[in-house]
Each structure stands twice: as structure tokens, then as C-alpha cells.
């Protein structure tokens, strides 16, 4: 066989094999695209979970359970009656995206939240001066939507893991929304309220006749009784007596008492 003929023969075989591979891949394309979308959706939820933790937990709680400042995002109410309540015509996911994007100028339920719902939720979209890109907001919305199984009871809500050695008061502090306004080194950064580092060392000197423990307890339950100079009264929610159980309150006070200089 001449070289030309051999090359034509082998070339034809390679072309046929290549076509075979393409046809084989073509048959797999619909599944491949589906899988890719599924994985992409999963990645979006993971991505959203991280963003939620970094941006939203200070007011909505570490597990979106809501705090004294902002509503629960894993509760039945959001997935059932909320859209009717606000008169939103579109999908719940779009509603969530819209709320994150623009934030709220005024609370829609001022009676539930301290300060008459002011300040309400800030804007998050970078187009409106916030820090987040559109795809990040969509990821957070996807993460919130993924709570549906727990919210509607389709999936049993698991018991939380108890981390050995974790201070229960510290958990209360971050779960109740305190981190939204107060700074404790290593836990939160916020300047709405006073910084709490070293609180135990100065709490006893604030109000005559009040021990450090009593002062802290009073500041939580009746925040306007004494306001540190430089801060306005009426900003801190005054409904913690309803939000916290006695045990949680004790844990929280004990935790704050460990914050010595």
C-alpha cells in the first residue's frame, strides 16, 4: 500500500472514530448539562451559606432563627403567609432577593421590633451602595430557600451539636443579635452600641449601689435605665425579657462577667 493510500485510510478511520466520540458525547449532553446545573445549585447554596454567615447572622441569628432585631428566616411563616401579608405577586425567592437587594427603609412589622423598626434592614446590593454583587445576593436567597424543608416540617430539624467547652452565654450572645451592635474581640465588630471588651472591670462603677452583675442584668432588661455617655437612649431593644429565658439570661450575664480587662 502506498503511503498516500495508507494515510487516507487511517485518516478516514480517525475521522470516523472522532465522529463516534462526538455522537457518544452528544447522547450524554442532556444529562451532563442537567448534572452541571444540579451541582451549580448545590455550590450556590454552599456559597450562600458562607455569605449568610458573614453578613446576615448578626441580626437574623447564626442559624437564621431570628433575634430581637430581625425575623426568623427558617420559620414556617416565611414560606407560607409572608407573601400574602406584604402583597408580593412573584415567587418567594424573588421576594427574598428583592428584600436583600434594597433592604428596608421602614420595618413592615414595627410592633415586633424595638425602636419602631428603625433602623430597619440596610441595603445590600452594591448597586445601591451595599457590599454584595447580584450573584452573591442570589446565592444567599438560594440558601434561605433551602430552609424550606425544616420550615414546613418536611425534613426533621436535627438537634444541634454541643461543642464541649463552649460558653453557653457566648452562644446566647451571638444567637440573640447582640453581635449586631456590640463589639467583643474575636466575636463581633460593630459600633452601634458600646464595646463590651473589659466590661466586667467597669460595670461595677457605673451606677452607685449596683454590683457589676446587677448592672449588666439591668442593662439587658431595661436598657434605657442607664445609657453610657456618647450613646443615644432608645436604640437598644427593650424586649429581651420576653426574648430570653431565665437560664439564657443567667448564661449571658455570666459570660459578660468574664470580659475583664
Amino acid at each position: 500500500m502506498k503511503r498516500v493510500q495508507l494515510e487516507i485510510l487511517l485518516g478516514t478511520i480517525f475521522v470516523l472514530l472522532s465522529m463516534g466520540i462526538l455522537i457518544y458525547l452528544g447522547f450524554k449532553e442532556p444529562t451532563r448539562m442537567q448534572d452541571y446545573e444540579r451541582i451549580q445549585a448545590a455550590e450556590q447554596i454552599e456559597f450562600g451559606a458562607g455569605l449568610f454567615e458573614a453578613n446576615c447572622t448578626r441580626c437574623h441569628g447564626t442559624q437564621a432563627q431570628g433575634t430581637a432585631l430581625a425575623p426568623c428566616l427558617r420559620c414556617e411563616e416565611l414560606f407560607t403567609t409572608r407573601l400574602d401579608e406584604v402583597g408580593w405577586e412573584g415567587s418567594l425567592e424573588d421576594y427574598v432577593i428583592s428584600v436583600i437587594t434594597t433592604g428596608r427603609q421602614v420595618s413592615t412589622r414595627p410592633e415586633l421590633y424595638p425602636g419602631g423598626g428603625k433602623p430597619a434592614m440596610p441595603t445590600w446590593s452594591e448597586k445601591l451602595g451595599g457590599p454584595l454583587r447580584d450573584d452573591q445576593i442570589r446565592a444567599i436567597a438560594a440558601f434561605i430557600m433551602n430552609y424550606e424543608g425544616y420550615a414546613l416540617g418536611l425534613v426533621p430539624t436535627p438537634e444541634g451539636v454541643v461543642v464541649e467547652g463552649a460558653d453557653p452565654g457566648r452562644v446566647v450572645f451571638s444567637d440573640t443579635g447582640c453581635t449586631a451592635c456590640h463589639t467583643i474581640s474575636g466575636l463581633s465588630t460593630a459600633t452601634v452600641g458600646p464595646v463590651l471588651d473589659g466590661l466586667a472591670s467597669r460595670a461595677g462603677d457605673r451606677v452607685p449601689n449596683l454590683s457589676a452583675e446587677d448592672y449588666i442584668r439591668q442593662s439587658i432588661l431595661d436598657p434605657n435605665a442607664y445609657v453610657v455617655s456618647g450613646f443615644e437612649s432608645g436604640v437598644m431593644p427593650d424586649n429581651f425579657s420576653e426574648v430570653l429565658s431565665d437560664q439564657q439570661l443567667d448564661d449571658l450575664v455570666n459570660f459578660l462577667l468574664t470580659l475583664a480587662e
Binding site: 452541571y36 447554596i45 454552599e46 454583587r133
Partner: protein, 571 residues
């Protein structure tokens, strides 16, 4: 009735009719093939000698535009596979692959930071053969870089840059630069972390230039930081400016080879002591039609087949990291591998080396103010190297092309190969970058991008719990766990316990405890906490506490990872 028609219309006899039809078709074929008759075409495909005189195959080369760019023939020895390895040919082949796949990708790609990343996801998830297209484009780009380098090396070692080919070599070096820049500009387009930071680091080199440096940097980036303007500039360079330049220089480069001086003969044929018969045989004409052309079509089929095998069976995947985030510098910034040598050079501080060397002979000077290492290693040295590369044919005055008659050039070439390899190694993040122990251990466990051992653990094994480093958990972390790894395909297969999680936790513990022993993490307290977070979503927390060896202060390093059941990592 038929007879009456036949009487009215004269129908010629069959033979005559057949000849007429044949002549008409033959005429058409000659026009389409620019000179080959049907008979001739058949002879071409069978490898038979020409059927007419003068040789109609040469007529094609004068009449057809495309064919006239090609040579009529090459001397036989120049077509030896072991002489050229078809390296230049394959470089061109990959360029054509890039043009075709690139044009299709342009239909879907949007060069704007808001949409670029999403458009890549759309190409992958919503376009038929979209992944194949993108992978082909990426693989073709890397192959083009590899083959152009190999082509350069081959030309260097066979001494083909000498004689009449000096200017061809120069255009070749320009093409090498164009290839590198084409692939670097394409690197930014997916707008992921990999792209964003590689290009940020790459363009920052220009910043150190004297006078015009900052302006040049601004010109490339379109703003102090790469954003919409920078992406558009890179995109237009990638799809318009540099492809056009590449076509221009390929034309110059190739036309010189095909029409002016041909492919070089192997040095052993050109300069060797050969008998007249051997010489005649080595110089025998190999015609474009049919020999070279069928060979090239054969190479096309081989090239496409190999690429499809590599891509169809998932041996190569285009990377795609998370969305570019200017606020978050990744732990390991990596240039594309073909620029590692440059990144490696940037890690060298010439002032420091000179100071140390002079220090040995007792001279102590302060040079770091005088010699800006980024400027020298990034802006002075690389252009000098490129200019030297271009000037090789003019520097090397040795007339011989035989390897044994140019020992200096050959040794020099081999030394440079080793230098580039060593520099490339220095360019990888493994070299010369120190990360704190806790950060490094967690990064290796679950890297910022890609898989890593933690994410490779089957979802079912992520048993909720707080696992404390240093505690004895027995042979398995979850003795009560039983799960089906492949519930659909193989429901009988069961895994008892969590072997993968146990291994990963063991590795994590071992490395942390080793770091504690070495004094990097004294008074270590570490945990791995796994929590059910949402339906099909778990949260893994790595919590590490230690006292700082210098200050004694308690330090904490905590990272959170979210793992979804459906997530599979393509690696």
C-alpha cells in the same frame, strides 16, 4: 406517442450522450479543483503519477489562491518526521482550532464583570457541547504554547535559524510572544479568582517601570484595579488585535518557509558526506499534491482524534474557580504554568544577591534602594532575554549546523532548558512562600478553590459531632454508621463506619500535633465540628487554638466550610 416525440426531438445515441455529460461534469470538476480532471483526481487519491502533461497538479498551485500559498514540493529529507516532528505545523493547527472554537464561544461570552462568570456557567450548563468547546479552546491554547516552544527548541537544536532563515527566526520569536500574550489575555476572561489575581499580579509588574510604569499599568487595566474597563481591553486584545497580528506574522513566517527558503534540510544531509545517489534520494521532490496534502489531512484527523479522546474521557478540564473577588486575595496566587519562570524570577532579589556576594569579599553596600528587584526582574531582564532570543542568529556566527560542530550552542541551549525549569519550580507557590502552620494545615485540608480531602469525604460520612484533636476515638469515628455508597447502581454495597472521615481527621490531627511538637503551635487545642445545617447541607468548623510562641497570647484560627450533598467536584 414516444416515437412521435423522438421524431420531433432528436435524441443522440447513448454513448454520445454519456460522453457529453461526462465532459460537462469533468469541466466543472476542473473549475472547482482549480485544474484537476476527474481522472486526475482519482490518480491523486490513489497516489498514482499524473495522467496528463504538463503536470496538472502544479497548475493548481498557480491558479488556486489557497494553494498558491503552499510550496510545490519539498525535498524528501526536509519532510522527515524526525527532523521537524511537525511542530510548527501543529502550532498552526492549534491556532486554527482556537479561531474556530473561539468564534463559537464569542456567541455566548459577555465581556463584563457582572455577567462574564455567569456566561461561563451558562456555556457549561446550557449550551450543547459547551463544556467540550470551552475545554477544546483551553486545551488548544495550552497545546499551542507547548508546541510553539518545542518548535523553537527544534529550530534551535537543528541550527535551522542560520543561513537564509535568520529573519524567519525573528518572526518566529514574535509569534511566540503573540501566542503567550493571546493566552494570557484569554486567562482573564472567565472572571474567576484564578483569572483575576493572576492578571492583577501580572500587570502589576509594569507598575515598577520608571516614569511611564504607572501609566502603562493604568492603560492595561483601564483603571487602578482591573474592572469593567480592564476586562474589555483584555477581551478586545484577545479576540481582535492579537489574532490579527498572529495572522499577519504567521503569514510572513510561513510564506518565507514555503516560497523563499523552504524547510531546512537536516544538517546531516546539507553538510554530511553523502554519495551522489543518497544526495539525489534525499533531495527527491515530495509534491504538495498529493503527498504533503494527504499527510496534512491525516495529521488533522490525528490531532482532532487525540483532542477528542483527551476531552471526551475527561482527562483535561478547564479550571473554573469562584467568582473574582477583588476584596479577597487567595492564599496561593498562581500565574499560568508557562509564566511560572517569570514568577520565579520575580522571587529573586538581585540587590540581595549582589550584597551577599560582595559581603564575601568584604565589601558592604546597601543596594536595595538603588536596585528595585521587581523592576529589574520583571521589566529589565525578561525583555533583555527576549531580545537576546531574537538576536541569536545574528550573534551565532558559526556557519555549521551540525550539532557536533557547535558544541557551545548546544550546551548553552541545554543549560537554558534547565534554568527555565528551575525558575518555573521557583515560581510555584510551594517555593519561598511561608504560611502560618494552622492556616497551611486547614488550607491543605480544604483549599479555598477545588477539592481537597475534606470535600472529598462522602456526604453520608459527615456524622454530626465535635471531634477533638488528641482524643482517642478508636478505629473509627462513627462506629454506628452504615450507609450505601451507590444506592442506585449497587444497593447491596454497604460501608460500615466513616473510613474517609476517619482518615481525614487522622491526617488533620497528625499534622496539628506534629506542629505542636515542633513548637509552632504550643498548648494546642483543636477540634473538627460537623453540624447539620440545612436539609442536605452540613457545616464543618475547624477550630484551632494555641499560645503564640513569642508573646504567649492565645491565638485562634477558625474556618467554616459548608458542604452540600449534591456537590460533586470535577477533579
Amino acid at each position: 406517442m414516444l416515437d412521435s416525440i423522438r421524431q420531433k426531438v432528436r435524441i443522440p445515441p447513448w454513448e454520445e450522450l454519456r460522453q457529453k455529460i461526462y465532459d460537462r461534469i469533468d469541466n466543472r470538476v476542473r473549475i472547482i479543483t482549480a485544474g484537476l480532471s476527474i481522472k486526475e483526481l482519482r490518480a491523486v487519491l490513489r497516489g498514482d503519477p499524473p495522467t496528463e502533461r504538463p503536470n496538472p497538479r502544479y497548475r493548481v498551485i498557480t491558479t488556486s489562491f489557497v494553494a498558491h500559498l503552499r510550496p510545490r514540493y519539498y525535498p524528501k529529507a526536509a519532510t522527515w518526521f524526525t527532523h521537524t516532528f511537525r511542530l510548527g505545523w501543529f502550532t498552526t493547527f492549534f491556532f486554527v482550532v482556537e479561531v474556530i472554537t473561539g468564534l463559537i464561544l464569542m456567541i455566548y461570552y459577555v465581556p463584563h464583570p457582572d455577567q462574564a462568570y455567569q456566561s461561563i456557567l451558562t456555556i457549561e450548563s446550557n449550551v450543547w457541547f459547551g463544556e467540550l468547546l470551552r475545554d477544546t479552546h483551553r486545551l488548544g491554547a495550552e497545546a499551542m504554547v507547548i508546541f510553539s516552544w518545542l518548535h523553537l527548541l527544534r529550530t534551535y537544536f537543528t541550527g535551522s535559524y542560520k543561513g537564509p532563515r535568520t529573519f524567519t527566526w525573528l518572526t518566529g520569536v514574535i509569534l511566540l510572544l503573540i501566542t503567550a500574550w493571546l493566552s494570557f489575555t484569554g486567562y482573564l476572561l472567565p472572571w474567576d479568582q484564578l483569572a483575576y489575581w493572576a492578571v492583577t499580579v501580572g500587570t502589576s509588574i509594569t507598575e515598577s517601570g520608571p516614569g511611564v510604569g504607572p501609566a502603562l499599568n493604568l492603560l492595561m487595566r483601564g483603571a487602578p484595579d482591573i474592572g469593567a474597563g480592564g476586562l474589555l481591553r483584555f477581551y478586545l486584545q484577545h479576540v481582535v488585535l492579537f489574532p490579527l497580528l498572529a495572522i499577519l506574522f504567521i503569514s510572513i513566517h510561513y510564506y518565507k518557509v514555503s516560497r523563499e527558503h523552504g524547510i531546512s534540510l537536516p544538517a546531516s544531509v546539507e553538510e554530511g558526506d553523502l554519495t551522489p545517489e543518497e544526495k539525489k534520494e534525499h533531495n527527491r521532490r515530495i509534491d504538495l499534491i498529493p503527498d504533503l496534502l494527504t499527510h496534512e489531512l491525516f495529521l488533522v484527523s490525528v490531532g482532532i482524534f487525540i483532542m477528542l479522546v483527551i476531552l471526551g474521557f475527561g482527562l483535561f478540564n478547564s479550571p473554573l474557580e469562584t467568582h473574582a473577588n477583588p476584596q479577597q486575595t487567595p492564599l496561593d496566587t498562581k500565574a499560568p504554568w508557562y509564566f511560572w519562570w517569570l514568577q520565579g524570577m520575580l522571587k529573586i532579589d538581585p540587590a540581595n544577591i549582589i550584597e551577599t556576594l560582595l559581603g564575601y569579599v568584604g565589601i558592604h553596600v546597601e543596594l536595595s534602594q538603588l536596585l528595585d528587584s521587581k523592576f529589574i526582574m520583571g521589566l529589565v531582564l525578561p525583555p533583555t532575554l527576549v531580545l537576546t532570543l531574537m538576536a541569536i542568529p545574528y550573534i551565532d556566527r558559526n556557519p555549521s549546523r551540525l550539532a557536533r560542530k557547535r558544541p557551545f550552542a548546544i550546551t548553552w541551549g541545554i543549560i537554558w532548558i534547565f534554568i527555565v525549569i528551575a525558575l518555573s519550580f521557583m515560581g510555584t507557590p510551594a517555593y519561598g512562600i511561608e504560611t502560618p502552620a494552622a492556616t497551611r494545615i486547614v488550607q491543605d485540608l480544604a483549599p479555598e478553590e477545588g477539592l481537597g480531602p475534606l470535600r472529598a469525604i462522602p456526604y453520608a460520612e459527615l456524622q454530626q459531632g465535635a471531634y477533638v484533636v488528641g482524643e482517642d476515638y478508636g478505629r473509627d469515628l462513627c462506629p454506628d454508621l452504615v450507609y450505601q455508597p451507590e444506592p442506585d447502581e449497587n444497593p447491596d454495597k454497604l460501608v460500615i463506619g466513616c473510613p474517609a472521615l476517619t482518615t481525614v481527621f487522622g491526617e488533620y490531627s497528625d499534622r496539628l500535633l506534629a506542629a505542636e511538637d515542633e513548637g509552632e503551635l504550643p498548648d494546642l487545642q483543636a477540634q473538627l465540628v460537623i453540624e447539620e445545617w440545612q436539609p442536605d447541607l452540613k457545616k464543618v468548623t475547624t477550630h484551632i487554638e494555641w499560645s503564640d510562641p513569642d508573646s504567649g497570647e492565645v491565638k485562634t484560627y477558625e474556618k467554616h466550610f459548608f458542604l452540600h450533598r449534591e456537590r460533586e467536584y470535577s477533579e
